[in-house]
């Protein structure tokens, strides 16, 4: 009898969900509260001995629109100046140039990260936090405070990157 009930229930559930049909839509924008930091799997964190913010990874290009970026030898000062303006309005509420604040400081970031990783983190932090193990670990280190997507254009992000080279 019990078995009968179970199988009836199973049939009911299957019938209910059987005709999905439609492709799942990609949710755009930050999904606040839907993927709390607590559900992230800690197994994918790098070894606990080094903090994620101090981890040096100069091969990881991250996940996002920037696949390959070679920085010219000389810093473009005009571009860096534009980058500083963007940084002041859109980034500085959380990132002080040379000390840890809400998020890490960008000073010396090129010693730890690839240009592509930095650009991808600026341009698509949601995707990075979900797919890049290092970004995920950083989120945990920084109290589960997710990096905001400030909707920079690729050009603006590149300017900010150039500004980081001057720090």
């Amino acid at each position: 009898m019990k078995h009968l009930m179970k199988s009836l229930a199973a049939v009911a559930i299957i019938t209910l969900i059987s005709c999905g049909g439609k492709e799942e839509k990609k949710n755009e924008g930050i999904q606040i509260g839907q993927k709390p930091a607590a559900t992230e799997t800690p197994t994918e964190e790098p070894a606990a001995t080094t903090k994620p913010s101090e981890t040096i990874d100069l091969t990881n290009k991250g996940v996002g629109p920037i696949k390959n970026l070679v920085l010219p030898a000389e810093i473009d000062q005009a571009m860096a100046a534009k980058g500083m303006e963007v940084y002041k309005t859109k980034c500085m509420a959380c990132h002080k140039p040379d000390k840890k604040f809400i998020g890490p400081a960008p000073k010396d970031i090129f010693l730890r990260r690839t240009p592509e990783w930095i650009m991808n983190m600026i341009l698509d932090p949601e995707d990075m936090i979900q797919k890049d193990p290092l970004a995920k670990a950083l989120l945990i280190e920084f109290n589960g405070s997710p990096m905001a997507n400030q909707n920079l254009t690729e050009e603006e992000a590149r300017q900010v990157l150039e500004y980081f080279r001057t720090l």
Binding site: A12, S18, A37, G144, S145, A148
Partner: protein, 655 residues
């Protein structure tokens, strides 16, 4: 145990019924009850899927405009328009207070009636929705990129702004007619001397094709009847506007008897193109007036209110051939024009029949000067000469008519509580469905335009009674959704509404959704008190005024520790949301503040005022859950006694 199995078996049956939501499986309207029809399937919008239509539904005496999805009947947003809204700080923050200014001062409430969506070439273009305020006559324009009230224009010389706010087919004009005639200019006089002395102002408001900015082009000063509802001509009748009238008796008391004496009242036909030409050539009389024009600016995130001091009036007798009366039986209420512009439906609410006038016949009668007399010098056409047809005894208490674009009309009947479908041209009744209860307006998306989307009809009901769980003496307002794609109408859904859903305007979602703004750009923020870079966050004292220039981002305020505020100060919190991502508003609220919270969109600046009353340490926080660290988004203001020497200082994250 047997019971449990029964339940499971029924569950399987139900699952089988609802499981394949592929549409197209149209059944007749034979069954009664949910399981016998596929009504549930037709209104089911799966989690995460979007509705096919927006419906903007008047919030009636709430003064607001509600945004619903069709066919689901889900409420998405209540747009504050004519009433204060503490949830969004509308009418509470320093920026939006000006929106509710009038010639009578700050009015915190309004009675919203008839939303109408802007049009281009007679088709819905989805740029703006207009809505009228009946009590303190005003017209509002809501921007459909932000879903916020962008502009409110007060209407002088009007009282009971009811035959409003309907747009012509290129949104040349939004029109506002007065239901209550009044002395113009207002003056102290005996009420009983109404007859012949009061005027009914019909206001033609131009809408700037780019900015949407509204301005009264002219007011047509008509005889002192009650101008109840109106609609513009469409297509062939574009250039004309039609207004129903009642109380042609000009009674000033016990109107329910005294305004129902005449066998026929009128539909006033106004050739606005002719009057526009007259005005453009210098016609009309400028008269002193006093009315507010309130405009919200998306760059300063602030509203301004300007009092206008003059309005141009036109005496209809000065423009021969511009205004005519079409006799229409028994206190006509709804005044609706079909998509071709040929038929003008006047629903005599005390008549047993529906009267339909012919635009072509009207023009011929005017041409032949076949008049049946005049009223205050305005020619009255002969009823028989302009009549296109009569829908015989379709029901009791006809009110409003909408069209499906397939040659059918749908009329609401208040007294017999039903919607009746009839055919234009043959005047035959095709179907009738009861509504629960006492329908006012009906709405078909685009149903008053040249191009209706004749798939759904919403009936906007006046009485709910037993349709929902009881909630004390006051019960919800209500709408009902019908599928009108087949020969017979099919009732699909009841859903609750806010205030009284007088009228509504529906539009395919894809026309609007693609233009919906996601954020305000910080780089375009021109608010005079904006803090655009975090380094500029600061506190300034000017006498006893303290201005806090604050920023917010997930999940902190800058500054979050403020000292040096004193009892007796007036403290301004000018708060800028530095987020630049979709759906990340932040709020701020201060203990004991005599105003509402602020709810600040990404890139926006808003201000509230706080009067500290006691020395101490007083917290503020973000009331809108914004991130995992939302609970941490808080701060303190130290308040010292008046006259104390506490130094003004502020900080974030360090001492």
């Amino acid at each position: 145990m047997k019971k449990t199995i029964n339940i499971l078996v029924s569950l399987i049956m139900v699952a089988g019924l609802v499981s394949c939501n592929n549409g197209g499986n149209k059944r007749g309207n034979k069954g009664k009850g949910g399981l016998a029809t596929n009504a549930a399937e037709k209104v089911y919008v799966a989690p995460g899927d979007h509705d096919e239509f927006y419906a903007f539904m008047s919030g009636g005496f709430s003064g607001q405009l509600a945004v619903y999805g069709l066919p689901s009947g889900r409420l998405f947003k209540v747009i504050p328009v004519f009433s204060q809204d503490p949830e969004k700080a509308y009418g509470y923050n320093e920026e939006s207070k000006a929106m509710l200014e009038t010639s009578y001062g700050f009015v915190p409430w309004g009675d919203a009636h008839h939303p109408d969506i802007s049009q281009t070439n007679g088709e819905l273009d989805g740029r703006w929705v207009f809505i009228n305020e009946n009590n303190t006559p005003r017209i509002a324009r809501i921007d459909l990129t932000t879903f916020e009230t962008a502009e409110i224009l007060e209407i002088p010389n009007s009282a009971g702004n009811h035959s409003s706010s309907f747009v012509t087919e290129n949104t040349e004009y939004v029109v506002a007619g007065t239901r209550f005639s009044v002395p113009v200019p207002q003056r102290d006089m005996p009420i009983k001397d109404y007859k012949g002395n009061f005027k009914g102002a019909l206001s033609f408001i131009t809408v700037d094709p780019k900015s949407g900015s509204m301005s009264i082009k002219f007011q047509l000063m008509m005889p002192g009847f009650d101008y109840d509802l109106s609609h513009p001509g469409r297509d062939k009748s574009h250039g004309w506007f039609f207004f129903t009238t009642y109380n042609t008796e000009e009674a000033n008391t016990l109107l329910e008897v005294n305004a129902s004496q005449n066998d026929k009242d009128f539909i006033a036909a106004v050739n606005w193109k002719k009057i526009e030409e007259y005005v453009n050539n210098g016609g009309g009389t400028k008269v002193p007036a006093n009315y507010a024009h309130n405009v919200y600016n998306d760059e300063t995130h602030s509203a301004t209110s300007t009092m206008l001091k003059e309005v141009l009036t036109v005496n209809p007798l000065d423009v021969p051939g511009a205004v005519f009366f079409l006799p229409t039986p028994k206190s006509p209420h709804g005044c609706d024009v079909d998509p071709t512009g040929e038929y003008i439906v006047g629903n005599g609410k005390l008549s047993a029949d529906l009267t339909v006038h012919s635009f072509t016949k009207m023009l011929a009668a005017i041409e032949n000067k076949k008049f049946d007399g005049e009223a205050y010098g305005i020619p009255i056409l002969k009823f028989e000469d302009v009549l296109a047809g009569i829908v015989k005894q379709p029901g009791l208490g006809p009110l409003h008519t909408e069209f499906d674009g397939k040659g059918n009309a749908y009329t609401s009947f208040f007294i017999s509580s039903e919607v009746v479908k009839w055919k234009l041209g043959t005047w035959e009744v095709e179907d009738r469905q009861p509504v629960f209860y006492s329908v006012g307006h009906v709405m078909i998306p685009g149903g008053n335009s040249r191009k209706p989307f004749g798939k759904y009809l919403v009936s906007l009901n006046k009485i709910t009674k037993d349709r929902y769980l009881p909630t004390g003496p006051e019960v919800t307002q209500s709408a009902q959704l019908f599928d009108i794609s087949g020969d017979k109408m099919e009732l699909l859904l009841d859903f609750p509404t806010i205030g009284e859903p007088h009228y509504a305007a529906g539009i395919p979602a894809d026309i609007i959704a693609k233009n919906s703004k996601q954020i305000f750009k910080l780089s375009e923020n021109k608010h005079p008190y904006a803090t655009l870079t975090d380094g500029d966050a600061r506190v300034e004292r000017k006498g006893n005024e303290v201005h806090i220039y604050m920023t917010m981002i997930r999940s902190h305020f800058n500054p979050d520790n403020i000292e040096g505020v004193k009892v007796g100060d007036k403290v301004f919190f000018h708060v800028t949301n530095h987020e630049q991502d979709y759906d990340v508003p932040h709020g701020i609220s201060m203990i004991g503040a005599n105003t509402s919270e602020l709810l600040i969109m990404p890139g926006q600046t808003e201000t509230f005022v706080w009067y500290p009353k006691q020395p101490g340490i007083w917290p503020f926080y973000c009331p809108d859950f914004c991130s995992a660290l939302h609970q941490e988004m808080q701060g303190y203001v130290r308040v010292s006694p008046a006259g104390s020497g506490t130094e003004l200082k502020w900080s974030l994250g360090e001492d």
